[in-house]
Amino acid sequence: MAMEKNGWLGLALALAVFTALPALADGVGLVKVSKGSVYIERAGKRLPAPVGTIIESSDRIVTGRDGSTGITFLDNSRMALGPGSTLAIDRFNFDQTTHEGNFDTTLRRGTLSAVSGKLAKHSPKAMTVRTRSTILAVRGTEFVVRTR
């Protein structure tokens, strides 16, 4: 057992330093890909969103003409936006023990690709994506949306 423990420590020392994360307390997601101009709008402010930016529920994610971004969420859902896109996180709740909760977003303009996660797997009603005129109920899947 002592040998094993030393083995792990050796392994840890051999690895590069892990990137430290800011506190995740309020976060529902994390920016993993950020190219060109990518912003979040939060409480009336516009903030740049480089890789490592924490996404909170009620944030709006905005990409410029040259921008694209990819985000992972707490329930292992993933979303990405193409250029000229705006996505509003309307609601995100996820109970890690029961997997109950809701994930609602609105694509106001642009293109979105999405892979659903544990919320949609637990309940076919848990995840929705809206546009101005359409509501999508996501039943455990991958898809793309464009809205104008």
Binding site: A16, F18, L21, A23, V144
Partner: protein, 199 residues
């Protein structure tokens, strides 16, 4: 009501409709990495279109409704390329197994840890969720507590290996997600595990 107000009452709904023009939407269902598809239900003006096969699509037509169709994979790439290319890597999952009723893990599990650390190192701003599971022996309260104990132990080990504790969450699933279906009360080693999900 004055004639002017009557006019306003008539015009308001028309103006509202004018502002909130219907959006022009296209939705395409993609095949998953394993080839399966899942489904999506698109509802517009009270009408539902269900997409449940690879590259099934719903696109707005002049009437304002959605029309069901099937897309060419290459065209989808052209139309949605940047949004598809921006998708973050899928989470990686690792499983560590435990001895009966304890939070000591089996020897085979130590080999998995090297892979887990390598995955963590290779990702930008890695986030780790440590998910404790039990078998169906014992009651819910015991299992929730035991699964959290197992998850905490793995989290502490990962912290000792140099992963910042701020980027690790330990959560308890109790007996809610057995990998092997058994009757209640059955001891099943394959269900006594901790899953480490690396995003």
């Amino acid at each position: 009501m004055t004639p002017l107000r009557n006019m306003a009452a008539l015009l308001t709904p028309i103006m509202l409709i004018g502002c909130a023009t219907v959006s022009k939407d296209s939705i395409v269902l993609l095949p998953k990495a394993d080839g399966s598809t899942g489904a999506i239900a698109a509802t517009r003006a009270g009408e539902e279109v269900v997409l449940d096969s690879a590259y099934a699509s719903a696109r707005h037509v002049a009437s304002g409704k959605l029309q069901r169709g099937t897309e060419d994979a290459r065209k989808v790439q052209q139309e949605f390329g940047a949004a598809i290319a921006g998708m973050p890597q899928a989470p990686a999952s690792f499983t560590l197994y435990f001895l009966t009723g304890s939070d000591d893990f089996t020897e085979q599990s130590t080999a998995v840890i090297a892979d887990l650390l390598e995955q963590t190192r290779s990702r930008p701003f890695p986030e780790i969720t440590v998910i404790g599971h039990t078998d169906l022996a014992g009651n819910d309260a015991e299992n929730d507590a035991l699964s959290l104990q197992r998850a905490d132990k793995v989290r502490d080990m990962l912290v000792a290996l140099g992963i910042p504790k701020e980027s690790i969450r330990a959560v308890a699933r109790g007996a809610r997600e057995p990998v092997v279906a058994t009757e209640p009360g059955v001891h099943e080693p394959r269900n006594r595990r901790v899953e480490v999900s690396v995003r």
